[in-house]
Each structure stands twice: as C-alpha cells, then as structure tokens.
Symmetry: C2
C-alpha cells in the first residue's frame, strides 16, 4: 500500500499548475527532455502499444517551420517558448509490438489488419501519453502550455512527410507517411506575472456519477 503524495507535490502537478503563455529566459536542456520522456514512457497504453512520437522543437529553424501551421493566437507564445513538443502518433505503431509485447505475438497482426482500430488506438493512446508528458514535465519543475489550435495537415506535411512517398511504408494503407500530429505543448519555465485568473472547473456532481 502506498502513501499519498505530499500536498506540495499534488499542488505542483495538479492543484496549482497553470497553462502558461509567457516564459522566463531559461532554456530547456536535452537532459531535461530526456528526463521527461524517461518518466512519461512508463504511463500505461493499450496493450503497451506506446504509439506516441514526440518532436521537441527548440531551434530557431524548427520554430520557423512550425509557425505557418499555428493559429494566430498561438504564434507568440510558441515562438517564445524554450521548447515546443509536437505530440504525434505513428500509424505503424504495431510494428514495434514484437519488442513491446513479446508475450503476446498475435497483437501485431490484430492491429495490422484493422486500420480503424489502429487509428482509434493511436489517437486515444497518444493523447494519454501527451497527458503523461504534461504531468512529467510539471513533476520535473517545468511549466506547460498545451494547444490544439493549429493546422494538423500543414504541420504533418512539414514535419512528417505527409503527401510524400514513404520508403519502407506499407504503400496500400499509408502512402503518405505514417506519423500524424495530435497536439502541441509548449515547455519551459512560465512567467507567473503574466497569468490570467484561473477558470473554474465542473463540480463533482456535474461531471461524475456513483453507481
């Protein structure tokens, strides 16, 4: 049986954590990005499929490639963020299952024959993994700014070869590359002076039911 995390820890990952739009001038290092991944990777996914793929964009060149896909309201906060994670999913995630689920050798073929199951599994589980990324970053002392306001098709064309031929891909189902963006998450150390008042949440009775 485990303890309850300290109030300070619960505040940091949930109760006092905020979505930031303005950033302190402090970089996010390679080492920190690896630490985020080394936590988030342990979060559970369906049959351990782990479909999320993450591009951490920090360079000026990378940010300029991202910019044309962003909704106008997301440009400044993203261009000024120390790092922006593109949380994406691989539609060929099942090719990793011989490694990820070695005890269950039939799983690969189950997914390979069912593009609809592949898509719903990839979307649901890369979203779960994106949430693990947010919590992992906060647990390491960073702040987050997640966003879905961008042109997925434009971003996928720029970063994931959508619309181009994909060497080694299954040409029948995935002629246009096999990684797709899900959402974006700015990462850095937020400027608390630029926060708006916090928006309310639903009461337990509005969102939950006990049966």
């Amino acid at each position: 049986m485990q303890d309850i995390l300290s109030d300070e820890a619960l505040d940091q990952i949930f109760r006092q954590a905020r979505t930031y739009r303005a950033w302190l001038d402090k970089p996010v290092t390679d080492e920190t990005l690896r630490q985020i991944y080394d936590l988030m990777k342990w979060g559970p996914t369906s049959a351990n499929t782990c479909p999320a793929r993450i591009v951490f964009v920090r360079s000026r060149e990378g940010k300029e490639r991202l910019k044309p896909a962003l909704a106008p309201g997301n440009v400044e906060k993203t261009m000024t963020a120390p790092a922006t994670a593109i949380v994406a999913y691989d539609l060929l995630f099942y090719e990793k299952l011989p490694k990820l689920s070695p005890h269950n050798p039939k799983m690969r073929d189950l997914y390979a024959g069912n593009p609809q199951l592949v898509e719903s599994t990839a979307k649901r589980n890369s979203s779960l993994q994106g949430a693990y990324l947010i919590i992992a970053a906060r647990a390491l002392g960073l702040d987050c700014g997640p966003m879905s306001g961008f042109d997925n098709a434009k971003l996928d064309e720029e970063f994931f070869g959508a619309g181009k031929e994909c060497a080694g891909c299954d040409q029948e189902f995935f002629p246009e590359g096999h990684v797709r963006s899900n959402f974006l998450c700015n990462l850095g150390y937020g400027d608390p002076g630029k926060l708006h008042p916090r928006a309310p949440r639903l009461e337990f009775e509005e969102a939950c039911d006990l049966r």
Copy 2:
C-alpha cells in the same frame, strides 16, 4: 521556479506504477473518488472544455450492467475491482462553456456549429482527462487497470441512453443521447503478487526527435 518531485513520488506515479489485474480486499470510498476528481479536474483541456464525464461503478448491480459489454479477458479483473471508472465524454460539453470559459463567450457557438470539431475535441480531451485520473489515483495511493477492450455501443446503450430519446437534447445532431464511453479504468489497491514481469518501453531515440 519549482522543485523536482521526490524519487519516491516519481516512482509512485510513473516509474514503479503498474497496471493491476488482481485486487486486495480493500474498498474505495466515496471520499477517495471525490479526492481523485478534485485533483484530475485541474488538468488542462482545450479552452477549458472539460468534456470528460465519469461513472464510478462499485455496486454489484452496476457491475452486472457493465459485464455484458466487457471483452472476455477483462471480465474477472473488472468484476473483482473495488471500483471501475467509465471515462466518457459529453458531446454537448459546450453547453457548460458559459461557466467554464466566461471570458470567452463566443466559444460555445464555435463548437455548437461544428460537430466534427466537437467529436475530436471530446475524444482528445476526455483521453487527457482519463490520464489525469490515472495519475491522480496513483498519487493518492491507489492502483489502476485501464482498458479499452469492451463494446462501446453496448455500454453506451446500457449506461448513457444511446438509442433512446434524450429529453432536452438537440434532436438534430444528437437524437440518441449525448454521452459516449471512451475507456474504462479499474481502481483499487492492487495485489503485487499477481503482477507479470514489466514490458519494455521504446528508447528515447525510437520515440523522440530533437529539432
């Protein structure tokens, strides 16, 4: 600037946390379910839409209603779990936006006129909120067993009135009720003696890219 959580806390929510299939004989109280919600509700969602709706099933009667929708491999662990959360989403989530995003009065109409945006927003963000539920439960000392192996349509018919008329709903777009299941998550205190060896994860280089 915030500290890094203790190694014990990081182990509890990520590194040592496991998906459980067998449960100790210890109930999950109303108070604990409310504590889980009071943490998870703070996790970020698109425009603070908070589309997740959670049914916590604990009674024998509730479990029997759930049972016919479960994949055979998920029956025993679910019937024996102290609680099972149905993580669902409300396709009419935007009707709560006057409360949730009072500073942004046009958001309700933006969603109301775009059923495709409603569906993608509801699915992505209820998945994020489901991940927050998993981490919140672990942070409070519970163990989780998330699952997507069940018949969503059958569960929705039993719990959310799918296929029945919905008084007060927008009959044009949602003639069959407006709440849909996303995934299930068993909750309780896991029996570590029944765990399998842990499955591997992808290396940083297999899942991430630095740009």
